[in-house]
Every structure is written in structure tokens, then in C-alpha cells.
């Protein structure tokens, strides 16, 4: 169970914090990320190949927004809790699900801002006993013109017992 009552978590549902600033989609980082996910395709590495494939610039892979986790893109006072007080025991927190909704691809040259909203909090009985607490954090990324580019839905789970999933 979190160190805070569920009601304290529920009271934060709907709150929004600025969590990403100056998230520049850099050519070298895109190439590095593409290689790290075993997808070093030409469209990620070469501007001419990207344009020939119909993109306006080198696109970033679908999960590239994860790199906004680097501390250099976090406003002061924002850490992995993204401005919320969930009271989760970090040693028991797993990344349960990740979903993205896109308006368009991210492109090299974009600079994005992210605002994170706690959209949902709930509890369930865990398979191995204990209570699992779920928190869904939606980060909306906008570009320099203020247009929405993508939404990132991150589901974190505080497990009741030993971790059986993906550490967050």
C-alpha cells in the first residue's frame, strides 16, 4: 500500500504539472536511440532518405518521447514523481503499460514542452496477495507553435509484494 491514503491520491486526479521543457529532438540522439532499439533504418539516420520516404525531416521512433526523462529537460523541482505525491515505495513500482496517441511524428528540429496530468488512480488485489495501486499519468507534448504533437500515457503500479514486472 502507498504511504498515503488512496483518498489523498484521488484528490490529485486532474491536477497538471509542467514536467518537460526545452525537449529538443536532436539528430544525434535520434540516431543513437534508433540503434539502441535495433532499428537503424535509413529514415532515422539520413535526411535525404527521410525526405525520399515522404517525411518533412528525420522522424523520431515512436517511443522517443521517453528520452524526455533526462534531467536536463525537467523544470526545477520536478523529479520522477512528475510533481505528484503518490507515496509509492519506489522499490515496488513497476511500469505496467505505455500508450501513445500521435497527431504527427516527432521530427528532428522539434522542441517540445510537456504537461503531465494524473488521469486515474485505482487499486486491485494482486495475484500474489497484497494490494496493487495503479496510477495513470498522461503527458501532453506540444511543439513551439503550441500544437499538440502526442500524448504519452504511463501506467505505474505499486505492487503488493515483490516486483514481478518492469522496474520504473
Amino acid at each position: 500500500m502507498p504511504s498515503l491514503p488512496l483518498a489523498d491520491l484521488e484528490a490529485q486526479v486532474g491536477d497538471t504539472h509542467r514536467t518537460v521543457e526545452g525537449f529538443a529532438v536532436e539528430r544525434g540522439k535520434v540516431a543513437e536511440f534508433a540503434r539502441a532499439i535495433d532499428d537503424p533504418d535509413d529514415v532515422y539516420l539520413d535526411e535525404q532518405a527521410a525526405r525520399e520516404a515522404g517525411y518533412e525531416a528525420i522522424p523520431a521512433p515512436p517511443t522517443f518521447a521517453r528520452t524526455s526523462f533526462f534531467p536536463r529537460y525537467r523544470p526545477d523541482g520536478i523529479d520522477h514523481n512528475l510533481g505528484f505525491e503518490l507515496g509509492f515505495d519506489r522499490a515496488r513500482v513497476v511500469h505496467g503499460q505505455q500508450r501513445y496517441e500521435y497527431e504527427r511524428p516527432l521530427y528532428v528540429g522539434d522542441t517540445l514542452t510537456g504537461d503531465t496530468t494524473l488521469t486515474e488512480v485505482y487499486q486491485r488485489d494482486g495475484r500474489g496477495g497484497g494490494t496493487m495501486t495503479f496510477a495513470v499519468l498522461r503527458t501532453d507534448f506540444t511543439d513551439e507553435s503550441g500544437s499538440h504533437v502526442l500524448s504519452d500515457y504511463n501506467t505505474r503500479i505499486e505492487t503488493g509484494q515483490a516486483i514481478e514486472g518492469e522496474g520504473e
Binding site: F33, D38, D39, Y55, Q98, P105
Partner: protein
């Protein structure tokens, strides 16, 4: 409407023999430095037989098939649930199966179920992708 995709079409891509080096490379590229993915003593103290891959590493590996199949320009949704760990030495097979094809104003909307399975037969990621092609 394009007839490029039909319900039941399946696509596959394999990443062979993922390693600790791959997890470290993903940590460096993504900024996810949870030591459970690269620090063997830390992982064993936490009760695991060894380090294991970031869920987002596998989600990234699986996204390669989504890009290959649908491209990125019309990608609308990409969803991954992390249901089991990926261990060093696993070979990962990603599959996409088209579940719906629908004519829409801007093209053809295609929905597909996604799964990533290890060579040991364990399903590690389940999800879906939606694209307008």
C-alpha cells in the same frame, strides 16, 4: 481505400539474442538508468536471477515492426503492456496481426494487435497499433 491490408494479415520481425550490452545501450540512449537493468548484484539482491531489459527497450524493438509495416506519418496509436521480463540471451519475435480495416476520410484506418514473444515461448509484451495509411 487501399487494399494493402486485410484482416488477418500478419507481419513478423526478429531481434536475436538480446544482451546486457543492449540494455546498457538503451539506458544510455533513453535516460532510464534504473540499475535493475544493468547492475547484476543490485538485481540479485532484489530477488532476480539476473538483470532484465527495460520494458521500454522491448517496446522500442517492437516499434521497428510498426514502422516497417505502417510507416510513421499515419501512426495514430501505439500501446504496449509489459507482462513479463526479457532476460539476457532471449531472442525476441514481434508479430502484428491486422484486426480491423476501415475506410476513413483521410485514408484507410488499420488496427493491429501486437505481441512480443521470447524463443522460450513466453509472451513479454502485448499491445496494439493504429495507423491511417
Amino acid at each position: 481505400m487501399t487494399d494493402e491490408f486485410a484482416v488477418g494479415d500478419t507481419f513478423e520481425r526478429v531481434s536475436e539474442d538480446v544482451s546486457r550490452e543492449d540494455f546498457v545501450r538503451y539506458a544510455g540512449a533513453s535516460g532510464d538508468f534504473n540499475p535493475i537493468h544493468y547492475d547484476e548484484p543490485h538485481a540479485q539482491e532484489a530477488g532476480y536471477p539476473s538483470v532484465f531489459g527495460q520494458g521500454m527497450f522491448t517496446a522500442g524493438v517492437a516499434s521497428a515492426l510498426v514502422r516497417e509495416t505502417f510507416g510513421l506519418a499515419g501512426l495514430r496509436e501505439y500501446d504496449t503492456r509489459f507482462v513479463a521480463q526479457v532476460w539476457p540471451g532471449d531472442t525476441l519475435t514481434t508479430t502484428l496481426e491486422v484486426t480491423a480495416v476501415e475506410d476513413v476520410e483521410t485514408g484507410t484506418r488499420v488496427e493491429a494487435d501486437l505481441a512480443v514473444t521470447t524463443d522460450g515461448g513466453e509472451r513479454v509484451v502485448e499491445g496494439r497499433a493504429v495507423a491511417v495509411v
